[in-house]
């Protein structure tokens, strides 16, 4: 198992991957094979919910890569996620074909009733799956590359960088809200029917999407872990801690930053692409700066610069949200807000730090006994 070598020394990662693998095996079984009325049956809505969490987790891993290791607090990663999502959404939209409400084979419904006569140029090609998938990584990647190239070359750092990433996603938010942009405005893209010919409503497709999300997360995790463990990872951390010193030993800091930033944006794009078919809608709201801030918070809650912490954080916070919005619809924000405050105060390393502390304490006490 060559690729798993990168998990050497990464217990959190190992545990996480084992759990993930188990889930990818158990969930399909429990959902598809266990009969409905059974106690063990897993309802499809849970499968989809978990699939959604996994895409969030992948996004969080992408953010942790740049924030935890490169020291760039990106307040705009939601933009890359959303762009990946839109690329997928456009594919799904084209798959509707003439099954839209107006029965127009060429144009999506929202274009029909706003009197568009032909498909805008940037929609072409999205009827092909491979092309759309390419765009899922290329569009966020390219944006990140251009944006990063400009910013890192000009040595924009710290809060200045954070704020312009926020400006970026905010600008995209406003742009996508505009109906003239041709992405469906505020309503975004919805009413998807099928993907690669499989109905999005069938349990099988949903389970498959869940498994795919799990695989993407595992893959993304291993990729990031590999990067971190390589010399490049050490350089990146060096840049985080002492950027100008890294320059004086001969590293082209901006190249490293652009590279990692772009990789991270692409991962976010993939996450977005998997997210859209599972939630069934993509709308400019995903570009909202507050969304991006929330992702940062997942990472912080889970534990910055641990990668697996990001996954824990993303799943935990979103699970809490799911539960609390149902259980205590009037006061769940108090719970969430308090959670954020308490974690910051009492778990400076996040939940991953808590796990590590417990472990080392146990280890210490065992040694003391010996």
């Amino acid at each position: 198992m060559g690729i798993l070598n990168v998990l050497h020394n990464d217990r959190g990662g190992k545990v996480m991957l084992v759990v993930l693998t188990l889930a990818m095996i158990l969930v399909p079984v429990l959902n598809l094979l266990v009969p409905e009325g059974s106690f063990l049956h897993m309802p499809t809505y849970l499968v989809t919910l978990m699939g959604k969490y996994l895409t969030y987790a992948l996004l969080a891993v992408a953010v942790d890569l740049v924030w935890g290791y490169l020291g760039i607090l990106s307040l705009g990663h939601g933009a890359f996620f959303a762009l990946g999502g839109y690329a997928m959404g456009m594919y799904l939209m084209r798959q509707i074909g003439d099954r839209g409400v107006y029965g127009n084979p060429e144009l999506p419904d929202f274009m029909v009733f706003l009197n568009w006569t032909e498909l805008p140029w940037f929609w072409h090609g999205f009827d092909m799956f491979w092309f759309a998938m390419l765009m899922v990584v290329l569009v966020p990647g390219l944006l990140a590359f251009v944006f990063g190239y400009l910013a890192f070359r000009s040595r924009v750092t710290g809060v200045y960088l954070s704020i312009i990433t926020q400006a970026l996603t905010y600008a995209l938010l406003l742009a996508f809200f505009r109906n003239e942009m041709g992405f469906g405005g505020n309503n975004g893209l919805t009413d998807f029917k099928d993907i690669l010919g499989f109905s999005l409503q069938s349990d099988g497709t949903r389970v498959a999407l869940f498994v795919l999300s799990g695989l993407a997360l595992a893959g993304g995790y291993l990729l990031c872990r590999y990067i971190i463990n390589s010399k490049l990872g050490r350089i990146v951390v060096a840049i985080r801690d002492a950027e100008s010193r890294a320059r004086f030993v001969g590293y082209r800091v901006e190249h490293y930053k652009v590279w990692v930033f772009t990789v991270s944006a692409m991962l976010a794009g993939v996450a977005g692409a998997l997210y859209v078919p599972q939630v069934g809608i993509i709308n400019p709201g995903e570009f909202s700066p507050l969304n991006s801030i929330e992702v940062v918070i997942w990472v912080a809650i889970g534990g910055r610069a641990t990668l697996y912490g990001a996954i824990i954080g993303a799943i935990l916070v979103n699970y809490a949200k799911t539960v609390f919005t149902g259980l205590m619809p009037d006061s769940w924000l108090f719970m969430l807000g308090a959670l954020f405050v308490l974690v910051t105060l009492y778990l400076p390393q996040g939940l991953a730090g808590l796990a590590q502390n417990l472990k080392s304490n146990r280890w210490l006490s065992r040694r003391a006994e010996a």
């Binding site: 607090l73 944006f147 400009l150 910013a151 000009s154 040595r155 924009v156 750092t157 809060v159 200045y160 704020i163 312009i164 926020q166 400006a167 970026l168 905010y170 600008a171 406003l174 742009a175 809200f177 505009r178 002492a242 950027e243 100008s244 700066p289 507050l290 801030i293 940062v296 918070i297 912080a300 809650i301 009037d330 006061s331 924000l333 108090f334 969430l336 807000g337 308090a338 959670l339 954020f340 405050v341 974690v343 910051t344 105060l345 400076p348």
Partner: protein, 557 residues
């Protein structure tokens, strides 16, 4: 008694005037349908006998009718009655102060708890407001009322009122009124009023005069920026004698050029006022974030608390709306400042040296504060009134006027800025907080009581946020989402200006405001906003540390 004699006389006068008035109105072209006296001129004759009732009494009857057509008649009657009380009635009607007694059917002015009989002017003893119901009016009646009042006030001794009156009736002047105006103008002592009157005469000439008269009139009006002049001229450019049309076009052109010029001034003003809102919202953050380094996501909610304090003050002192802001400003400062200190002492204190974590905790706090307001007060917006001295405009001329509330806000922004600047420059606090934020350990070793400095400074920044909330409550919604709407912009402004530099914040806010307003007319509001953001992104490439960067060896890294 005296009252009766007086009423008798008025009855006579009123019937006379009524006949004249209806005759005049019958002449008017294309009468608006809502004015029944005109659509059915015959009715006037029928109602004339009814006018045997004194006009005020008659009007009172009609006004209490639920049909708006009847009310319209009453207004006409009042407007042409010449009764000195009629104007009060019209004004009262317009202001919604005129009530009818539910049983006894007499009219009264209700001003607060004071109720006076409209007819006699005497106080109504032991009256209860609940016994009265307001006389409702609608838009067309309001228009009619204003015209009526204008006519009545042409003879007012106050030049301002006369001017107002002329301006109000400017586009509804018929030849007879024009003649009257001409007469009045000849006697008029106030130059401005005279000019307005002559303009009115000319306007009438433009419409009804011969070609020659029209040409002269065009000359007269070509200096005026009054919008009605433009529309009248516009009418003249088509379907008239080519010479007249040509002259009208030229006059229009020169007017339009001047308007364009004022347009730029207006854009600048709009930009500055938007800028001061941005600055106000951001300036507290310039302290908590810029100087102390706390990424304070709850800043917006501190603004929100300030706005709610304003509301609260107005709820507590409903009679003193005009003074409420003067109480609200210190109150908001104290409320938000206290909450800020509380946040600092309980949470942020533990996070110094971990600036990014402050983002996480304060975000949590902002969620809690929002929901707290939803739970304790209400999820809906709450109404905050504008004091009367803040509404209205400062008219430079007919096309260029500065809205007073914006003017005050610009002024207020500058005052807040200056005060803050002075505090940070002239007191030890400013120096100490900068020392603490640069090297906490060393500052403590130098005897700086860092805990106190932190609490005070955070309190100051938060308090200023509260004060900004007072200002915002005058412009926009006061609701649980208020803070969210401003937090992103605030960070943008602080960073664009250069973190830690108050001047930068001021200049950044103002310039973003102006750029936005310059772009808006040709790009539209949405695109303008996008362009401003793109501009910020590009600008930061040029100046990676904002408008006023921290310079020097140590600023790097």
């Amino acid at each position: 008694m005296a009252l009766n004699i007086k009423t008798g006389f008025t009855v006579f006068l009123a019937s006379l005037l009524l006949i004249i008035a209806s005759a005049v109105q019958a002449d008017q072209e294309s009468p608006p349908p809502a004015e029944p006296a005109v659509t059915e001129p015959v009715e006037t004759a029928e109602t004339a006998p009814a006018a045997a009732l004194p006009p005020l009494e008659q009007a009172a009857v009609w006004l209490q009718d639920s049909a708006f057509t009847q009310k319209a008649k009453a207004i006409d009657l009042l407007a042409s009655s010449g009764n000195e009380r009629a104007q009060d009635w019209l004004q009262g009607l317009l202001d919604g102060k005129l009530y009818a007694h539910k049983q006894d059917a007499f009219l009264a002015f209700v001003k607060g708890s004071k109720i006076t009989n409209a007819l006699t002017g005497e106080d109504v003893a032991d009256a209860n407001k609940a016994d009265f119901s307001k006389i409702t009016i609608n838009n067309s009646l309001r228009k009619q009322l204003r015209a009526g009042i204008a006519k009545l006030s042409l003879a007012s001794p106050d030049a301002k009122v006369r001017l107002e009156a002329v301006n109000t009736m400017l586009d509804s002047i018929d030849p007879d009124t024009a003649a009257l105006l001409q007469q009045l103008a000849d006697k008029e002592t106030d130059a401005e009023v005279r000019e307005a009157m002559q303009l009115g005469v000319a306007m009438s000439a433009l419409k009804n005069g011969s070609e020659a008269e029209q040409l002269v009139a065009i000359e007269t009006v070509s200096g005026s920026l009054h919008p009605k002049v433009r529309s009248r001229l516009n009418d003249l450019t088509v379907n008239t004698d080519p010479k007249v049309a040509e002259a009208a076009k030229n006059a229009l052109k020169s007017i339009e050029d001047r308007i364009a010029l004022y347009g730029h001034a207006e854009t600048l003003f709009f930009g500055l006022s938007l800028g001061s809102v941005l600055v106000l919202a951001a300036i507290g953050l310039a302290i908590t974030f810029g100087v102390m380094g706390v990424i304070n996501m709850a800043h917006g909610e501190l603004i929100m608390l300030g706005a709610y304090t304003t509301w609260m003050i107005q709820q507590l002192l409903p009679k003193y709306i005009d003074y409420s802001l003067f109480i609200a400003i210190p109150a908001a400062f104290i409320v938000s400042g206290a909450v800020g200190i509380l946040i600092e002492r309980t949470v942020i204190r533990h996070l110094y040296g971990r600036p990014l974590e402050t983002l996480l905790a304060t975000f949590g706090i902002s969620l809690v504060l929002q929901q707290l307001v939803r739970t304790v007060i209400s999820p809906q917006n709450v109404p905050v009134s504008n004091p009367s001295w803040m509404s209205g405009t400062l008219d430079i001329n007919n096309v260029f006027s500065l809205t007073l509330n914006r003017l005050y806000i610009i002024l207020f922004c500058l005052i807040v800025f200056a005060a803050l600047f002075a505090i940070l420059r002239k007191t030890n606090l400013g120096l100490q907080v900068r020392a603490v934020s640069q090297n906490r350990a060393m500052a403590r070793a130098m005897g700086v009581r860092s805990a106190r400095v932190d609490a005070l400074t955070f309190g100051l920044g938060s308090g200023i946020a509260g004060v900004a909330g007072v200002a915002l409550s005058q412009l926009t919604n006061v609701g649980p989402n208020l803070g969210q709407a401003y937090i992103i912009d605030s960070f943008m402004v602080v960073v664009f200006g250069g973190v830690g530099n108050l001047w930068g914040t001021l200049l950044a806010g103002m310039s973003l405001g102006v750029i936005n307003k310059v772009l808006e007319p040709w790009a539209g509001a949405v695109l303008a906003k996008i362009l401003v953001l793109v501009f910020i992104i590009l600008f930061i490439q040029k100046r990676p540390r904002g408008l006023f960067p921290q310079k020097g060896r140590a600023a790097g890294d």
